[in-house]
Amino acid sequence: MQKTNIDLPINESWTNNLSMRKTYLSIVALLLLLSGCKENFNPVVAPINTNILVVEGMINAGADSTIINLSRTVLVSEKTTTKPEIGATLTVESESNQAYPLSELTTKKGTYGSLPLNLDPSKKYRLRIRTANGTIYLSDFVETKVSPVIDLVGYDADVTKGLQIYVNTKDQTNKSRYYRWEYEETWIFYSAYQSLLMWDGKDVVGRSSANSIYQCWGNTKSSTIVLGSSVKLDKDVIFKQPIILNPSTSEKFTEKYSILVKQYTLTKEAYDFWQNLKKNTESLGSIFDAQPSQLTGNIHNQANPLEPVIGFISAGTIQKQRIYITKGELPGFTKPLNADCNAAVVEPTTPLDFPLYFQSGFTVPIAFVGTGVLASSKECVDCTLRGTNKKPAFWQ
């Protein structure tokens, strides 16, 4: 509701009243400010066992691995989200009966992968799944969509609105038309206090630079579905497609920020599926939203076509582009100081005091101050709680 995201007419939204919906949400927000309220709502739902197969991934026709993830749905009330489907046999098949097997990765349960397949983009492909209990699921044959190169990953910076990342792309052949984007953000950030000391289990000792927990790299992947289309335009051009908006006070802009944007080209059917998934799962149930509707993918149980299966298998190539933005390029962007962080000096009166303070790990020593030790809570000292202190391989 607070987002200033522009609802571009050609980005699928106007055709589905989404921009209208947003306005309504704004109205609702307005009224809430006047006199309304928003409360948690946890309806009691009869426990219906829904154990639906979920298939996620795409047939990568290019020089990257094909990765497919299988899982099952769980009840909303359950704490875990992931219930991997293990022990299945997956094969990519072409119209001309070529088969490319995938194997289950040992590193991640329910994930199946192949070496780069380098498929012929003029052919159609499908995915065959044989689950551990022998049920066979087949996707429809899908066209291979080759994504055009991303023209530009750009940004608009504004202290009040924040940093808006956008994408420009075009297809001279006018064949792409339907697009989807994913992104991965990485940034440098620091803990509130730089710890020069550490607890080695027995005593407070000096911290080596290898064990530094002051500077870290944070990372997130896209969790919303970003779609765009140029069908309403007379050229296959995408101009300033919004990808992600971050406020200017975000920790992401402490020193250096990077974003990797991946671009997929879709068939109309795939685009419809993603749009339907977005509409059904990203904001629904409000009075001005479209009613939730059945989600139909292109994967079917061979023996029982009525069984719901979640997911849509596409085939194609992916285009990627990474950009870096440093703090110097963002004048006026400031992260407020963490007011929750306090440091205090621990003055040991008995030899047992240090173990008492530091053994649990909740309090971390920072520096010696006279006879005592300046210390603070782990959240304020240890950046690895929210990121990694190992520089990512790609980082420049």
Binding site: T15, L34, G36, S223, E282
Partner: protein, 919 residues
């Protein structure tokens, strides 16, 4: 006046005495084309009477009469029968006067009452040609009005009495007034145009007239034959305890209508309202059988129908969007509205084109005597009205306007909303001209506009524009007609120009031109007929998508304009079989032509209508009929009275609807579009059977009723998953026709008189839909019945007003209903970087129940008639209990976790105040 009466009394008493003595003398005459001089000469020769008259007045008269052995009075009656000559006998003097009546009537009446004898000395002939010249206006209670041609020998039998009832100061016609005859069952209700007709036995009667907000009145009549009597009813000014609904006392138990609610503005104004602005549509929602999906949505559902199945008429003009400001206000200016009528069961055959209900909103006619006005100030809106005569007393105008000043409210919001704007305004204009008693012309206009832009770069606006002209004509006491010609517009547009490459303007427009004529004909005492014809020509622009500015790459896209002609002819007969049993039989035949120019997509037979199954296109030229739908619509009802205040009624209705609102959101939103039936989208068809029991208690001060109904809907429109409705060139591929059924029982009790007035209703009702078309791949809920969005089984309403004193009253409104159905997420899974949900069957669960109480305190200024300004205050509290009613529930993903939220809009007690002034 009193002296005059006394003199006249003396005059006639003495002549009556004399006349009795004179009775023995009988005369015989034989005149052929005789002049008055010849007649007088002859009679003076035969008797000792002397005649006095003005030769110039009477010299054109030729008399042909033959009489044998008559008294002088009877003879003169016979001689002057069929003329406008009155005579008076005093001693041996006979006076002849042409035309003038010199108020002899009262004396005659008095004489009849006192002496019980036939008046002998007076003759007053209201011959038919005279009656046409001047219709009697019955203004006083004690005068005797004679109806028909007086005969000296009253026969038995009945005569038809008709006329109009009006308010003398403003000359406004009074509808819904009850006219009854003392000590009898004979009653009539004045219609929309203030017109009434009544079959009365010949002879002398007392008429009782009652009407909302008018003083009860009675009139003395002497009926000799068919005739006209217009009645003046004075506005009730000195009391606040008016019994508005008294006029309908008769209607509930004794009329033939079922499921009809009438409310006048005074009633509407007493219902506590949001922000203190009296709201027509919110009051409608308190009636049994009327539901809404959400608190802030003006669309309403009648007996399970969808929101587009209501025909909303403002002075006979169709209003396509009856709301302002996202449904928080209705489009009707409460200062101008006279009354509303909602038909939800028996829909009169003169209406058609919608399945569920007709909501008629009627504006007042302007005051014909003096300039007056009102002004109201509320928190968010202000309004004014002014009315008065134009030149003569025959023409009047009424003008009303409203505007918001809500922008200041938006300014109080945080900076994030700094670009927000929302405003609306509307205007009503009415002009009424009374040519004469039989001809009246009225012109009405309506204009409304809403603009909004909220925290977004996209701006929206929508507008209603209506104009109509109506001519009412009374042919005679049995036949009257009204003709109506009008044009109605509704359009909206959405514009965004922030991104130059994508800058666009999207427009939707509908225009209808309509003509209708409605005739009322009183065939006999037992049959009154209604008939007429109507035609509507639709022109619909489903969408126009255009670039703005030179940089915009948007391709201009226009969805083909659609045209159609909907015509209908109808005939209805209200047949009083006996005193207790009456039938209303109506038939409407509607004909719909979808017209060119247009290009129609043809789809393969017996396959789902999808883009893949489109086989060809056919183009049609201008005004070529592309597709015709037609069929009869039956409107039947019957009533049987067990006793005077207890009756049973039954009704059966079928209806057809050719225009559809396409909306896949739960509530009406301003961007929903209308669609005309075409070769691929069939008209909706509905039928309803209902049965009701009606009982009045306590001398009709308390009305009760129970109604049950069962309703079926065919070819109701639902949407495929992910249907896109705007700028869709083949919308039929996204639409699925659905079946619906609705049934329910409604209990209603209303108290019309006393310090406490108001009504209370409870309804149990269900509305179920079913998508069992075999051509749909994945029907909703596997093709089983599922509850509609507005299915709320239990609904209770109480609306009451307690008048402590004449100037102070307290109003209370209590509403309870079962929560609206929703589709809940049941399972979750991880996909595309986020947790996502899988939903249950459509509408398998419900949001929490709805309960709200509102309170208002009304203070009227003093009621001295002569003061220039009258003012009133309303203070109140909306949602007295502060219950956090769920406006909606939704599930969103926040930081990758699914959270359910319940959103309440008016979650606290909301105080309001409004100030109104009348001058």
């Amino acid at each position: 006046m009193r002296i005059v009466l006394l003199i006249i009394f003396c005059l006639f008493f003495s002549s009556a005495v004399f006349a009795q003595k004179d009775k023995e003398i009988l005369y015989s005459v034989d005149f052929k084309q005789a002049s008055i001089n010849e007649v007088v000469k002859d009679l003076e020769a035969k008797s000792n009477y002397h005649f006095y008259y003005d030769v110039l007045q009477l010299d054109s008269l030729r008399i042909t009469v033959s009489a044998n052995q008559l008294t002088i009075t009877n003879l003169l009656n016979k001689v002057f029968e069929g003329t406008n000559i009155n005579f008076a006998i005093h001693n041996k003097n006979i006076f002849l006067i042409k035309g003038k009546t010199i108020d002899l009537d009262l004396a005659q009446a008095y004489y009849v009452n006192k002496v019980g004898k036939e008046p002998v000395s007076v003759k007053k002939n209201d011959t038919s040609y005279l009656a046409n010249e001047k219709i009697q206006y019955a203004t006083t209670a004690n005068k005797l009005y004679e109806i028909g041609i007086k005969t000296n020998d009253p026969k038995s039998g009945t005569a038809l009495l008709s006329g109009i009832i009006r308010e003398p100061t403003t000359e406004a016609l009074v509808k819904g007034a009850s006219i009854s005859i003392e000590n009898s069952e004979i009653k009539a209700i004045s219609n929309q145009d203030g017109f009434y007709s009544l079959n009365v036995p010949l002879g002398k009667h007392t008429l009782f007239i009652k009407a909302p907000n008018k003083n009860d009145a009675n009139r003395q009549i002497m009926v000799y034959g068919d005739g006209k009597l217009n009645i003046d009813l004075k506005e009730r000014v000195l009391t606040l305890k008016e019994v508005q609904i008294l006029a309908n006392k008769l209607s509930v138990v004794k009329n033939l209508e079922m499921g009809v609610s009438r409310l006048d503005l005074k009633t509407i104004k007493k219902v506590p309202s949001l922000f203190g602005e009296p709201d027509v549509l919110r009051v409608v929602l308190t009636l049994p059988g009327v539901q809404t999906v959400g608190e802030a949505s003006t669309g309403f559902n009648v007996r399970g129908g969808s929101t587009d199945q209501n025909l909303i008429l403002l002075n006979d003009a169709t209003i396509y969007n009856p709301s302002h400001f996202f449904g928080f206000f209705s489009a009707f200016n409460p200062d101008i509205v006279k009354d509303i009528q909602l038909y939800k069961s028996t829909i009169p055959e003169k209406f058609g084109g919608r399945l569920s209900s007709v909501l008629e909103v009627n504006n007042r006619d302007g005051n014909k005597k003096k300039i007056t006005g009102t002004a109201g100030i509320g928190i968010i809106t202000s309004r004014f009205s002014i009315e008065g005569p134009i030149d003569s007393n025959k023409t009047s105008f009424i003008l009303g306007g409203r505007a918001t000043y809500s922008n200041w409210l938006l300014k109080l919001l945080p900076d994030a909303y700094e670009n927000s704007k929302a405003s609306f305004y509307d205007f009503n204009l009415g002009i009424n001209h009374q040519f004469d008693q039989n001809n009246e012309l009225s012109v009405a206009g309506y204009y409304s506009k809403d603009n909004f832009k909220l925290n977004s770069d996209t701006s929206y606006n929508y507008s209603n524009k209506n104009a109509s002209i109506k001519w009412k004509h009374i042919f005679n006491s049995k036949l009257n007609v009204s003709f109506n010609l009008g044009t109605d517009f509704y359009d909206y547009s959405i514009m965004s120009d922030i991104n130059p490459v994508n800058a666009y303007n999207l427009k939707f427009k509908i225009n209808q031109s309509n003509f209708k004529s409605d005739f009322n004909y009183t065939l006999s005492e037992k049959h009154s007929l209604r008939f007429g014809l109507s035609a509507i020509y639709y022109k619909l622009n489903p969408g126009e998508f255009k670039p703005i500015g030179s940089e915009s790459l948007v391709i201009e896209d226009i969805v083909q304009q659609e045209q159609a002609l909907e015509s209908a002819i109808y005939l209805g007969d209200e047949f009083k079989v006996s005193d207790n049993f009456a039938i209303n039989a109506g038939l409407r035949y509607s004909l719909y032509n979808y017209l060119g120019p247009n290009t129609i997509n043809n789809y393969a037979a017996n396959l789902p209508i999808t883009e893949e199954n489109q086989i060809s296109q056919t183009s049609f030229g201008k005004n070529k009929p592309i597709k015709t739908y037609h069929g009869p619509e039956i409107r039947m009802s019957a009533r049987y009275n067990f006793t005077d205040d207890f009756s049973i009624k039954a009704a059966y209705n079928t209806l057809r609807q050719y225009i559809h609102l396409l909306s896949n959101t739960t509530a009406i939103s301003p961007t929903d579009i209308y669609k005309l039936s075409d070769p691929n989208i069939k008209p909706q068809f509905g039928n309803q059977v209902s049965l009701g029991l009606y009982k009045n208690y306590n001398s009709k001060a308390i009305e009760t009723s129970i109604e049950v109904y069962y309703k079926k809907i065919k070819d109701y429109l639902d949407y495929k998953s992910g249907a896109s409705l705007i700028m869709n060139h083949h919308i039929e591929t996204d639409i699925v026709s659905t079946k619906g059924k609705a049934y329910g029982i409604e209990f209603f009790i209303k108290k019309n008189a006393g310090k406490l007035t108001g009504w209370m209703s409870y309804a149990y009702s269900r509305t179920m839909l079913k998508m069992d078309n075999e051509l749909i791949g994945e029907p909703i809920n596997r093709g089983e019945y599922y509850p509609a969005n507005h299915d709320k089984p239990h609904a209770f309403n109480f609306t009451g007003n307690y008048a402590f004193k004449q100037r102070y009253s307290l109003s209370l409104n209590v509403t309870y209903s079962t929560g609206r159905p929703i589709t809940l997420p049941i399972a979750k899974y991880y996909y595309a970087g986020s947790e996502r949900v899988f939903y249950t069957d459509r509408n398998a669960y419900r949001i929490p129940d709805y309960f709200r109480t509102d309170l208002a305190f009304n203070i009227e200024g003093n009621h001295k008639i002569d003061q220039t300004f009258h003012n009133s205050f309303t203070l109140g509290l909306y949602n007295l209990t502060g219950r956090k009613n769920a406006y909606s529930t939704y599930f969103v993903k926040e930081n990758g976790v699914i959270t359910g939220y319940k959103l309440s809009i008016f979650a606290n007690i909301l105080p309001f105040i409004s100030y109104n002034i009348k001058f």
